[in-house]
């Protein structure tokens, strides 16, 4: 099972196994990782599952969905490595993915 690492803003790191086919957001919610709210439940209708993908991983994960950037406009302190974690699907290819969590959602 692919391992995903979530690094909280204060540096606290959580590495968990996430089933193939789930999203990085679901992996966080199912493992009670703080810092990802996912208010809309994965509908790409809010911007509360915002993460910063580590630079070396950014081009390896699936590309942004249509409209994802529009939602990211509303995220807290977005930058060029910002993604909505509900739009990143987990597969063996991204085993070892590291995402940083913003100060707040």
């Amino acid at each position: 099972m692919p391992k995903i690492t979530y690094v909280e803003n204060d540096g606290k790191s959580h590495t968990v196994e996430v089933d193939n086919g789930l999203t990085v957001m679901e992996g966080a919610v199912q493992n009670n990782i703080p810092g990802i709210d996912a208010d809309c439940g994965g509908g790409m209708a809010c911007a509360t599952c915002h993460v910063y993908v580590k630079e070396e991983w950014f081009d390896k994960i699936n590309k942004k969905s249509e409209g994802e950037d529009d939602m990211l406009d509303q995220a807290f302190e977005p930058n060029k490595f910002s993604r909505l974690s509900c739009q990143i699907s987990v597969s063996n290819e991204i085993d070892g993915l590291v995402v940083d969590l913003p100060k707040k959602q």
Binding site: G41, A45, C46, A47, T48, D69, D70, D73, Q74
Partner: protein, 339 residues
């Protein structure tokens, strides 16, 4: 002070259907919502997105669902208090005293929280010093556009609100429009207008910039904006407007003495009552073993909470279960003919 049998907090689908259920069984109710329109998340987050799991409705959008629910409430003249947030709830004798941020107050034996994931609040600027300028030099919505006349206004955001206000204010003010990327998500026609106004020097456009800091004492004098490549520019500004959409905050609900589980309220599954007698929670905001965050679950929860309200609103009467197909009383309330 408004006296009502039940007060519903939240005008989303669950709140609307709960109002229907209350009126059907002969109770009065009023609805409070922080948004400026009826519909909750359905109307604010996904008005155009199709929903496929409303029983007996194969497909409808958030907006259609809201309109259908409003139509279903037509027989009842229900008072909605929009643009108001419930700030305070306290026990007064056997009933609840409820007050909104606008000062509207209610006296009711039953409060039904149908608040989704909390109330929608504008997303705000990051720099800490912004808070002290809020309401004076920094705004997240516009009440009186005349204050900006002949001033320098820096507008942040890439959606319709930011673009519309940039165009609107550019006739009487100097406008800077600042956005974190090159693409805007607002309507193309407005965007074309913005580019035209930029050409004639009415709007200055700064893309790939975000707000870094604001400077000034009582009022803002200038702001620093930072480019993606870390370059900083100082812009003289009298007013700063931020249009970053809305975020849902649990808000004052957290202070009402309810048992919370993360951002949800614990309820029983008989009455959907919280740990406080006469306060119920239904829809996305409630939690219990097996809870599904579906609109259809909210309808069920609201129907049961409405029946529970009857007992507290009419302590000397006995609730009698009736069907809409056969009850003359219900048909009278709906204003339809009985056979």
């Amino acid at each position: 002070m408004i006296k009502t049998d039940a007060l519903i907090i939240g005008a989303g689908p669950t709140g609307l259907f709960t109002a229907h259920q209350l009126r059907l069984i002969g109770l009065s109710c009023e609805v409070v919502d922080n948004l400026d329109k009826i519909g909750g998340q359905c109307i604010e987050l996904y008005p155009d997105k199709p929903i496929y799991d409303i029983p007996a409705v194969p497909e409808c959008t958030g907006e259609e669902l809201t309109n259908n629910l409003i139509n279903q409430l037509k027989p009842f003249d229900i008072k909605f208090h929009l643009n108001e947030r419930v700030d305070e709830i306290k026990k007064e004798n056997e009933s609840w005293f409820v007050k909104t941020n606008n000062g509207t107050s209610f006296n009711t034996p039953n409060v039904i929280i149908a608040g989704g994931v909390g109330s929608f609040e504008p997303r705000k600027f990051t720099p800490k010093e912004c808070e002290k300028f809020e309401g004076r030099s920094i705004f997240y919505s516009i009440k009186d556009k005349n204050v900006f006349k002949n001033k320098i206004v820096s507008i942040f955001g890439g959606g319709d609100s930011a673009l519309d206000w940039a165009v609107e204010l550019s006739s009487n003010s100097k406008v800077n429009l600042i956005h974190r990327r090159d693409e805007f998500r607002g309507a193309q026609s407005t965007l074309d207008k913005v580019y035209e106004l930029e050409k004639v020097g009415k709007i200055k456009l700064f893309t790939k910039y975000q707000l870094k800091s604001v400077k000034g004492n009582d009022q803002i004098d200038s702001i620093d904006i930072e480019h993606e490549n870390k370059e900083i520019q100082n812009l003289k500004s009298d007013y700063v407007l931020g249009f970053f959409g809305l975020i849902m905050q649990l808000g004052p609900i957290a202070n009402w003495g309810l048992n919370l589980n993360k951002k949800t309220i614990e309820v029983d599954t008989e009455k959907f009552e919280t740990n406080q007698k006469g306060i119920y929670a239904v829809g996305d905001i409630c939690t219990y073993p097996g809870k599904l965050k579906l609109i259809l679950s909210g309808f069920h929860e609201g129907a049961l909470a409405a029946r529970a309200c009857f007992k507290l609103a009419r302590p000397n009467e006995k609730y009698r279960f009736e069907f809409t197909t056969s009850s003359k009383k219900i048909k009278d309330r709906l204003g339809v003919k009985s056979d």
